[in-house]
């Protein structure tokens, strides 16, 4: 892994969970845009990484996020049947189910990984999911995960089975 040197000031004493959110370009990313245009307010914990489709979310992205210190990962895609690419969200669902098992083996609580279908019109749902996840993760406390490079490699072997 490359450097990890740049430091921002750590916000406050109280624990703030850190969420990495992978949002598809056509539904959930736009729902987040709409939430903004509508000036809805929600918890500031998530950092959105835009992908074209939830199907682009490699299970390793999720594992890597946890390995880098995320307390939770949120994947947002189009509703079943509404995928801009027809069925990428189903692939995301399949990988999500696999990841759930892997994360359980790693001792991570179920709430830490979430997959949500949020359409471009559902800004309110996006807000609710953001708030709910931040609240749940706050209650859980920081994710306790120690993953070595070897573990990560072993996990990529798991991935092959479920691709």
């Amino acid at each position: 892994m490359p450097e990890k040197t740049e430091q921002t000031e750590t916000s406050s004493d109280s624990y703030e969970p850190r969420i990495v959110a992978f949002f598809c370009n056509w539904c959930t990313y736009l729902a987040a845009d709409l939430a903004g245009t509508s000036r809805m307010k929600y918890a500031p914990n998530a950092r959105v990484i835009r992908v074209m489709c939830s199907g682009r979310v490699d299970p390793q992205f999720v594992l890597d996020a946890f390995a880098q210190g995320a307390d939770g990962v949120l994947i947002g895609g189009c509703h079943p049947g509404d995928c801009h690419y027809q069925e990428g969200n189903y692939k995301a669902l399949r990988r999500y189910k696999m990841l759930k098992r892997v994360l359980d083996d790693l001792g991570l609580e179920e709430e830490r990984l979430r997959l949500e279908w949020i359409s471009a019109a559902e800004a309110d749902k996006l807000r609710d999911v953001m708030d709910e996840m931040a609240e749940q993760l706050s209650a859980l406390g920081p994710a306790q995960l120690e993953v070595s490079e070897e573990d990560l490699e072993a996990m990529s072997a798991v991935e092959e089975v479920t691709a």
Binding site: W26, D33, G69, E87
Partner: protein, 661 residues
């Protein structure tokens, strides 16, 4: 992972937009820029009031030239608004446009958070992620594809008709597909149109005839789109033609077959008149139908049901032989470059609000039924008579049926106030009855609409501000029903007995809107209507390039707005056609052949059949690839990569957003 693309000496420019106070009001932009300036590889970090303005873009171009920038990051609004702007600026500055990355600190940050510290930390995290990622960006080129000049218009109500005619008159070839036996849509059912009281048929039928006769329009009625394949400029559309059991080319519309049908009178509820009259098994929906071709309904035709009909229709058509009981559905597959969806709306089913008594009390009608009653080509030839033959002496019009109601639809259907006023005027004119409008708010936002409202008030129509809570029979020998509502201006309960109730039903998406949406890959907006690309700046475009929207399929609207939108959709289609080609975003997947093990995992994953196996290795056709990245995520050997969403770019973003702890 290794840093192949650039080393730590890269020269990155970071630009943080104030967006007036939109961003700067919540995010400490100066602190963010200062922070960005300290990130590895960042040569320049600036803030500017409006990055999208010409001077803002000029800043980028100037820095690329003066400071020899190699990468550009702009933190501003959503990429859906200005990604293209800044890519262009980057390119004009002299480097590849894909050496740019955009950070959304407005919609995703400043506008959704209140605490400046939290919003500022988030902005820094997002910018750090972008700075990390942009180092790995590669120079990319947009691919040009030709645009087929032919257009398909789906739905031939006033929206589809207007769009088709606009295009056809400009010399474009148009396929116009309509599922009903005739074009015309809802507008053909109306008597008059508000607020001018133009006769709907008088203004619509000339356009319908023009469509039917236009050399550039291929009109397919009684037909539906079955399948859509392809991409902008190059769609392949499969259309299914339902059998009407008439050879269309042979039928001249003499209608003699209807005359001689063994059914002396109609027995089937007439769809066009909403069941207020009966039609025969062989019929034409209305006198001005286009095309003038009869249709046989196999569910009620005796020949279809028993095979023992005298077939008087065939006899009378002996010279032309247009009737063909053996006809089956047929298909056509056409190539078009663009599609305009104008599939319209359906009216709210009034039975869903049981206390209004629709379907239970004969006195209760929907507004569309009343449109037919007042129409001189309707079931009563324009005579307003009740189901029991009486002429109404008092009429109640109930507004907002299925609109502005948490139990049904929360949105305002936009047209009901105005058409209620129109019906009030027409009913008053035809019957002289006392007319009571029960409204929540009177909405008349259109040219000459308010004036029309005043006029109807002056004609003696009563207005009661209150939502009708109950409709019940007056009892005794009375045929009347009582409308009960709280008059919120007087502050008391009103119970008004009337002979006739008109329910101003709202507009809803078509019953199969979801299916159509999925066929054409259109995003769903609130209420189930089709979503436009941008509510203000791209109101007829969709997220699927080359597919445009017109009319009420996008949301409730009146005829003037529908026609305006149809013209706009036609213009958008023409802009694509006349450009002759379209540039595709390069976010496609590609295979690093030497890493491919030939396992074939990717091949069934691709919904667009873009991946094939060539000499034991996967190969991706960049024209067919739409860039979802599903195969990339699945490739066990990491041999498939995606432009703009390379693995290392995303890993760097993950690292970037999390690095501050």
């Amino acid at each position: 992972m290794s840093e192949t693309a650039m080393n730590g000496d890269s020269r990155i420019g970071v630009y943080v937009c104030h967006c007036g106070t939109n961003i700067a009001g919540t995010v400490d932009v100066e602190a963010v820029a200062e922070f960005a300036g300290g990130l590895r590889g960042v040569a320049v970090a600036r803030t500017y009031k409006y990055m999208c303005s010409d001077p803002g873009q000029e800043l980028i171009k100037q820095d690329i030239r003066d400071n020899n920038l190699q990468r550009v990051v702009v933190a501003a609004c959503s990429p859906s608004l200005h990604e293209a702007t800044f890519r262009r600026a980057t390119e004009e500055g002299g480097i590849n446009p894909y050496y740019f990355h955009m950070v959304n600190i407005r919609e995703h940050d400043a506008w959704v958070h209140e605490d400046t510290d939290e919003a500022t930390v988030k902005a820094k995290d997002l910018i750090r992620a972008a700075v990390h990622r942009v180092r790995f960006h590669k120079p990319l080129e947009r691919q040009k594809v030709d645009v087929n000049p032919d257009v398909m218009v789906v739905g031939a109500g006033i929206a589809g008709i207007h769009a088709a005619l606009t295009l056809a008159n400009a010399g474009k070839k148009v396929y116009l597909v309509e599922r009903e036996p005739s074009i015309g849509g809802h507008m053909a059912k109306f008597d008059k149109t508000f607020p001018t009281l133009d006769c709907a048929a008088c203004i619509l039928t000339p356009k319908m005839t023009e469509v039917g006769a236009h050399p550039n329009i291929t009109l397919w009625t009684y037909s539906e789109v079955e399948e859509v394949d392809g991409y902008v400029g190059n769609y392949k559309v499969k259309v299914r033609h339902r059998p009407r059991f008439i050879i269309e080319e042979a039928c001249v519309g003499c209608l003699e077959c209807i005359e001689v049908c063994v059914f002396r009178r109609g027995k089937t509820p007439d769809e066009f008149n909403l069941g207020l009259s009966k039609r025969k098994p062989i019929y034409i929906p209305f006198p001005q139908a286009v095309p003038q071709i009869v249709t046989i309904d196999p569910d009620t035709c005796i020949e279809f049901r028993t095979g023992k009909c005298k077939k008087t229709c065939v006899e009378v058509c002996a010279d032309r032989n247009a009737i063909d009981f053996q006809q089956t559905e047929t298909f056509d597959e056409v190539d078009v470059g663009t599609v305009i969806l104008a599939t319209g709306f359906k009216t709210f089913d009034a039975k869903r609000i049981p206390y209004y008594g629709y379907g239970r009390y004969d006195a209760v009608y929907t507004a569309l039924e009343v449109e037919r009653l007042v129409n001189s080509s309707g079931p009563t030839e324009g005579q307003v008579v009740l189901r029991d033959g009486r002429k109404p002496e008092s009429i109640g019009i109930v507004h907002c049926v299925g609109s502005r109601d948490r139990n049904t639809n929360t949105y305002c259907s936009r047209v009901c106030c105005m058409y209620s006023l129109k019906l009030a005027h027409l009913l008053k004119e035809r019957t002289g009855a006392e007319i009571y409008n029960f409204y929540i708010d009177m909405r008349t936002p259109g040219k000459d609409f308010e004036e029309f409202y005043n006029r109807v008030g002056e004609e003696g129509v009563h207005f009661i501000r209150g939502k009708v809570a109950d409709v019940y029979p007056e009892g005794g020998d009375s045929e009347r029903v009582v409308l009960q509502a709280e008059d919120t201006l007087l502050g008391r309960m009103r119970k008004i007995p009337v002979d006739m109730v008109v329910l101003a039903t709202g507009l809803e998406p078509q019953a199969d809107a979801e299916e159509v949406r999925r066929t054409f890959n259109i995003t769903c907006a609130s209420g189930g209507f089709f979503m436009e690309r941008h509510p203000k700046l791209a109101p007829v475009s969709t997220f699927t390039d080359g597919i445009f929207l017109a009319g009420a399929c996008q949301g409730p609207k009146d005829i003037p707005d529908t026609v305006a939108q149809a013209g706009a959709a036609a213009a958008e289609a023409m802009a694509l056609i006349d450009a002759r080609f379209v540039e595709m975003d390069p976010n496609t997947a590609y295979v690093v052949t030497e890493d491919c093990s030939g396992c074939k995992t990717c091949i069934p994953l691709c919904p667009f059949s873009a991946i094939s196996r060539v000499e034991g290795k996967a190969e991706i056709n960049p024209i067919l690839c739409k860039g979802c990245g599903t195969c990339v995520a699945a490739c066990p050997s990491g041999a498939i990569r995606q432009n703009l969403f390379e693995d290392e770019e995303i890993y760097e973003e993950i690292l970037g957003v999390l690095a501050h702890a």
